[in-house]
Amino acid sequence: MKLKMLPPSLREPHRYLAVEIISEEPLEKNDIVSIIWTTCLRLHGECETSKFKPWLIRAWEPIKDGENYKQKCIIRCKRGEEEKVRAALSSISQYDNRRVALHTIGISGTIRSATQKFIKPK
């Protein structure tokens, strides 16, 4: 049986990071999840990472840009820990023996505003 949803006053506030991924090969959703976990665990360790509650919300299709692939995604984390997640994401250089680089474009309070502001600006 599924647990009943918490009342709004007890739910934890979130922050949404709009992230740009540059890679040599197109990445799938599983790869991005794996990147987020390995990089958070490497930089901050298990104890700190347990506070972040990272979650991949949505990943857009990779677009070819010259020799590289560019891809955008939205990652959720706990409010107050976004700077640490940002630091962790920027500290990765390789995945599966291929170069990757993650840039955080912006941080927002809702998925909608993160998408409108940073992923698909008007």
Binding site: R42, K84, R86, L89, S91, A101, T104
Partner: protein, 237 residues
């Protein structure tokens, strides 16, 4: 706010162009392309081409000097002082670290901890570096490319350097030392990364923006300076 990256390794015109375009996209207002002292002469054409292409982006000519003895270092610094905008000395050997800190004509000492088991600078180096205004470089690509034990060691050395910086107030610059576009990070990401080693936000912004700006401006006036604090105004008329 204007951010600068004072150490990007140059390879060829096409590669440099790619890196600089990426740096501009990520929010930097200027970058220094660095060539080693051996191949600096051949890089003149590259610098000319880059300066023509990037009009609204500041391009700084930098040379990285690696030497084995103090005498050789002094000779090389004297040789390149007028040719390059910024002189970067590759550290590692304690004698070289000391000679670089003592030389007022050197701008940046990079990787004093290379091939060592300590940060490479102590209170003596720190005091002389503060007197001679020699900046010590903290390198992001070393952090990004390493992991586990090596990265832990690096953080340890950086913490020691920052501790000395807080006491002796020698300048610190944060650079990327990028060899490809994958090594560059946005200034905001770098601020978040260095907050992990207990650096304050204003200290990091100083290292990314204020100190690089002051190094660039000081070097533009260097030719007209007779001694530190006295300079020739209006061409000596």
């Amino acid at each position: 706010m204007k951010f600068y990256d004072l150490h990007i390794q140059g390879k060829s015109f096409q590669e440099d162009q790619k890196i600089l375009k990426e740096a501009k996209r990520l929010g930097y207002s200027g970058a220094a392309i660095t060539y080693p002292d051996g191949s600096y002469k051949e890089a003149r054409e590259t610098f000319k081409g880059l300066e023509e292409e990037f009009q609204d982006f500041e391009i700084i000519k930098a040379v990285s000097i690696s030497s084995e003895t103090q005498k050789q270092l002094r000779k090389k610094v004297d040789k390149f002082r007028k040719r390059a905008d910024i002189i970067i000395v590759e550290g590692g050997d304690p004698k070289i670290n000391r000679a670089a800190c003592e030389n007022i004509r050197v701008d940046i000492l990079t990787r004093p901890y290379q091939n060592r088991r300590d940060p490479g600078i102590n209170h003596v180096h720190a005091r002389i570096a503060a007197e001679n205004n020699v900046a010590i470089e903290l390198n992001t690509s070393d952090i990004i490319r390493s992991y586990l034990k090596v990265r832990t060691r690096l953080f340890e050395y950086y913490r020691d350097i920052i501790k000395l910086h807080r006491k002796f107030h020698f300048p610190i610059v944060i650079t990327s030392n990028a060899t490809s576009t994958y090594d560059l990070r946005t200034p905001r990401d770098i601020i978040a990364l260095f907050k992990c080693i207990n650096m304050q936000e204003d200290e990091i912004i100083d290292a990314l923006s204020t100190i690089p700006r002051s190094i660039i401006e000081f070097n533009r006036q260097r030719d007209s300076m007779i001694v530190l604090g006295a300079k020739i105004v209006n061409g000596g008329v």
